[in-house]
Amino acid sequence: MTLSITVNGKRHQVDASPETPLLYVLRDDLGLNGAKYGCGLGQCGACTVQLDGKAIFSCITPVSAVGDRPVRTVEGLGTVDRMSPLQQAFRDEQAAQCGYCIAGMIMRAQALLDADPRPDEAKIRAHMQTNLCRCGTHMRILRAIRRVAGLPSDGAAA
């Protein structure tokens, strides 16, 4: 069936069965390959995108559940030449090792920063808890988020 969804401010008509995970539509139909397929079970966070400003697992969100709510992916934040402050911070801290989790990490962290531009260390850690990095760069990821949140780089404020 034909469904209409808004991604990064642009309206799209997609032909998909209604239970198709949003992730598949983003990657296969719209060519937005930032969000990744990790576990497919909402346990790793590699597929994280924003729905109506909240971080969600797109691998377990059926496309028909999106409705009129806006979707935002990492492609909607910035480009290689014009990075968003958070993307720039991830680059400056060299937060990516293999990079597979990073789009999800950025979109989850951005959802927090949009709701609370000055979160404390405990709030950042609790919020990021659902997203995993198998390379173990969590400490660099946290440093990048602290950079944008205006916290000391070592998280000493906690």
């Binding site: 209604p18 198709t20 909240k54 697992f57 691998c59 377990i60 059926p62 559940a65």
Partner: protein
């Protein structure tokens, strides 16, 4: 004229007399509610307690789940400050570490016993029944002394709890004396000589320190447990605590063995996973000697009654009929749930229970089913065990209601839940941190 004046005068006399009587009554009530302070002591040195008593106290503190309420998010264990949402406002738990200023450092053992059994602070102030003293009143003094020994040997933490935020006039603590008159029934848990020692140990733990009825028994408008409906199911932090009596909705009768497994691991193959406020209970019970959990299970299973050897009904799975009646729920289930809960899903290969076994889907009250979908399930025991992501940000109330309607129709033979969207909206509101 004369008669009129006399009538007026006698009316005034009556009013004055009534006022005086009311005032006297209030004074007597206030006097009756008064409790003396117990003299402060110099904080006892940790070495003054027998190590065996401290170890025993540690175990009893786990059985009583003390740290669950008396630790705030990110705070030091037992240092209090956790907000507790009640229908009467928000209370903050007290600091149970032996800090003399902000904790219980100057409390004698007698003061601690009085707080636990009569709900009175060392200062003489009445404590709110969020401290479940209607259960703790049944705990034996030797056990209370062991708990005291454990608490007084912790490292003191200087941290004062924030002030309570209660609706008027409940900030006035002498009123609690009246509450206790109605709902506090002191005395030991009776021993039933016709039952085993294990069952009686379970009764002592469940009715006393374990305070299971605090969540699993419904409360009246004054917040007191309705004793005539003990274990008929209640409310806990926005979740439904299922009935633990004959009305328990489990698809397969609980056996003692199944309940021991559930209480120690958070899941039983014939039942669903522990979720919401039951998670921390399981975490505590995973750390006490198994014999204590066996005793609890023996007692609770006897409350549920029935024979586990009775013929078992086949588990319902009306996939087609449910999809016809709840097409939107069926689609959402396919995209959001089936990856774990559908036939052949990797999780099902690990022996996780079918949704037909999920107690929350069979309960007459959909609240906990709604909460499980909204908030998900956190692994209860030190990060191990069942885990489910929450869908609060992915699905709307109306969509979750559609899924719940579908699940109920597909996996149970029970009547449809009514007013599902409103229940989901309420669950979402109450599930948010106070």
């Amino acid at each position: 004229m004369v008669t009129l004046r006399r009538t007026a005068r006698s009316k005034w006399w009556w009013v004055t007399a009534l006022l005086l009587l009311g005032l006297a009554g209030a004074l007597i009530a206030l006097a009756l509610s008064w409790r003396p302070a117990i003299a402060p002591i110099a904080p006892p040195s940790p070495g003054s307690f027998a190590p065996a008593q401290v170890v025993r106290g540690a175990m009893l503190v786990k059985l009583g789940d003390c740290a669950v309420c008396h630790t705030r998010d990110g705070g030091r264990p037992l240092a209090g400050g956790r907000p507790l949402a009640t229908p009467f406002g928000t209370l903050y738990s007290d600091n149970l570490t032996p800090d003399p200023e902000t904790g219980i450092g100057t409390w004698s053992a007698a003061a601690f016993r009085r707080a636990m059994k009569a709900g009175v602070s060392r200062s003489g102030a009445h404590l709110y029944p969020a401290l479940p003293y209607e259960h703790f009143t049944h705990v034996r003094d030797a056990d209370l002394d062991a708990i005291y020994a454990f608490l007084m040997t912790r490292r003191p933490v200087r941290e004062a709890a924030p002030a309570n935020r209660l609706i008027f006039p409940l900030g006035f603590r002498p009123l609690l004396a009246g509450w206790k008159l109605l709902f506090l029934h002191p005395g030991e848990t009776p021993v039933d000589p016709s039952r085993s020692a294990e069952w009686n140990r379970g009764a002592y733990l469940v009715e006393g320190l374990g305070h299971c009825g605090g969540c699993h028994t419904p409360r009246n408008l004054a917040g007191g447990e309705i004793r005539s409906q003990a274990y008929a199911g209640g409310i806990a932090e926005g979740w439904r605590a299922p009935a633990l009596n004959a009305a328990n909705p489990a698809a397969r009768k609980w056996t003692k063995e199944a309940l021991v497994t559930y209480l120690r691991t958070g899941i039983s193959p014939d039942h669903s996973a522990a979720a919401g406020p039951m998670g921390p209970v399981v975490d505590s019970l995973s750390q006490v000697p198994e014999a204590e959990v066996r005793a609890i299970a023996a007692y609770i299973v006897s409350k549920m009654g029935g024979s586990p050897s009775a013929p078992v009904a086949p588990l319902p799975d009306h996939a087609d009929a449910a999809a016809r009646r709840f097409p939107e729920g069926a689609v959402l289930f396919g995209g959001a749930c089936a990856g774990c809960h559908g036939p052949g899903a990797p999780m099902m290969g690990q022996g996780r229970p079918l949704l037909s076994l999920a107690t929350v889907l069979r309960d007459s009250d959909p609240t906990s089913a709604a909460q499980a979908v909204l908030q998900g399930i956190a692994p209860p025991v030190a990060g191990r065990g069942p885990k489910m992501p929450g869908f609060a940000d992915a699905l709307t109330d109306q969509q979750i209601a559609a899924v719940l309607g579908y699940l109920r129709a597909r996996y149970t033979d029970r009547p449809d839940w009514k007013k599902l969207p409103a229940t989901v909206a309420k669950a979402r509101k109450e599930g948010a941190q106070p």
